[in-house]
């Protein structure tokens, strides 16, 4: 659990109980933390309110963490990393990606110990004069193609979808179909101010991606080149995180918020919505979640599926800025409280 006040390691089995087994980086914001399942190594993105961001790694999250060499911008860019949004394993031994603010992709080939800027995408960012969203200019979604390290889709707030087929040497956009309702009608078709909130690929059907956008939910069936609106049936198209079931390419989960001007769960009810038909229909999954006076905000990285189950046994976890963490071990059919009274939750991942 990344929180505004450090990293919390929750430990437990099944539907609980869970307890806080360790806390690290007290006082600092832990933007994101995850385990590289290939190596067992833990990686964390930590931002001090005074001394800036850094990426750390360890083999024991309750023990000592090592500071990585980067990600940091080379001097010719004139830029400095503000925040490390996400870390993601790639499709080659030791290959990892990190997405940062200001929007840039960094790559590591040594398991996260050192990092190099992807210059080609940085050049696109300069040429395109990318604009930030409320949370900054964030490269927060990184979607590798199973088995092919050359193919990658990334999501940027607010510069849309970027795609590469050559390991990041060249990039192209995936904009058609995305409708930025927050822009004047006259410029919607040509603007690059496209506020992706979260994006994930369906591993069994890699051409398919699901996206939570600023105001709607979309699906792509052509590897991110174009998008179809699938928000009908949801109480709101607005939200931040999104999860897919690795075993079902038709499945995605979202947690709608009322809207951009009121970023809480609608009507005071905490509800996760599931589709199993690629967005043709949505079902509320709320058994065990608070149904009354629950005005939760769930941030971009604070919802995840476990790697320890799929299909009907998929585990799902999300944390709120209220400091509560909710879990399900039956694909969202029922939920339990895994933790209360933590600091505002910024990210959740299963280790």
């Amino acid at each position: 659990m990344g929180t505004k006040k450090g990293l919390f390691v929750l430990q437990g089995e099944g539907d609980g109980p869970y307890e806080v087994a360790a806390r690290a980086f007290a006082g600092d914001v832990v933007e994101f933390a995850a385990k590289d399942r290939r190596t067992g190594r833990y990686l964390a993105s930590v931002t001090s309110g005074f001394y800036g961001p850094r990426l750390l790694w360890t083999d024991d999250p309750g023990g000592e963490w090592q500071v990585a060499a980067g990600p940091s911008f080379p001097s010719h860019t004139g830029a400095a990393v503000e925040r490390i949004w996400m870390i993601r394993a790639g499709e080659a031994d030791g290959l990892l990606y990190a997405g940062v603010d200001p929007a840039a992709l960094f790559m590591s080939t040594d398991g996260g110990e050192s990092w190099t800027l992807n210059e080609a995408l940085w050049n696109e960012r300069i040429a395109g004069d990318w604009r930030p969203g409320l949370g900054g200019l964030a490269l927060h979604s990184i979607c590798p193609w199973p088995g092919d390290p050359r193919r990658l889709a990334i999501g940027v707030s607010a510069a849309g979808v970027w795609l590469t087929d050559d390991g990041g040497e060249t990039w192209r956009t995936g904009y058609p179909g995305l409708v930025p309702l927050y822009m004047p009608e006259e410029v919607r078709e040509h603007t690059n101010v496209l506020c992706v909130h979260n994006m994930h690929r369906a591993p069994l059907l890699p051409e398919r991606l699901f996206m939570q956008f600023h105001g709607s939910v979309y699906r792509s069936d052509d590897a991110g080149a174009s998008w179809t609106d699938i928000a009908e049936g949801l109480p709101s198209g607005f939200g931040f995180p999104l999860v897919v079931d690795p075993a079902d390419p038709g499945c995605a989960y979202v947690i709608p918020l009322t809207g951009a001007e009121d970023r809480v769960t609608p009507d005071g009810k905490a509800r996760v919505y599931e589709t199993r038909d690629a967005g043709a229909s949505w079902t509320a999954r709320a058994e065990g979640l608070p149904e009354k006076d629950a005005w939760l905000t769930v941030l971009r990285q604070a919802f995840t599926g476990g790697d320890d189950g799929e299909g009907d046994g998929l585990s799902l976890w999300f944390g709120a800025t209220s400091g509560e963490v909710f879990g399900s071990v039956d694909a969202g059919r029922s939920w339990f409280v895994a933790a209360r009274h933590l600091a505002p939750v910024t990210s959740v991942r299963v280790a």
Binding site: G49, F50, Y51, G52, R54, A79
Partner: protein
């Protein structure tokens, strides 16, 4: 040589030294010299472009200064967290 006063967590990254000395004719040069002596401090006071971080304040003999300010032997630099930082 100028002296540089550090508080936690910077002090811990300087091997526990509350006060260190370092060569340099400007605030930036002195801070760079401190980084060279204690590499674990790299990235904490100065960002990767060599700028003092937004929420870190540097005082020279009690007066808040910018990183280009001249420093003389015998001067004391204080590196302190700003009240504008934190979360």
């Amino acid at each position: 040589m100028p002296a540089v006063v550090l508080r936690a967590p910077l002090k811990d990254l300087a091997d526990g030294h509350h006060e260190v000395t370092a060569e340099g004719a400007s605030v930036e040069e002195v801070l760079r010299a401190v980084e060279r002596a204690y590499p674990r401090l790299v990235g904490w006071i100065l960002d990767e472009q060599g700028k003092v971080r937004r929420h870190v304040n540097v005082f020279l003999n009690g007066e808040q200064v910018r990183q280009g300010a001249a420093v003389a032997p015998g001067d004391r630099l204080y590196v302190l967290a700003s009240i504008t930082g934190g979360s």
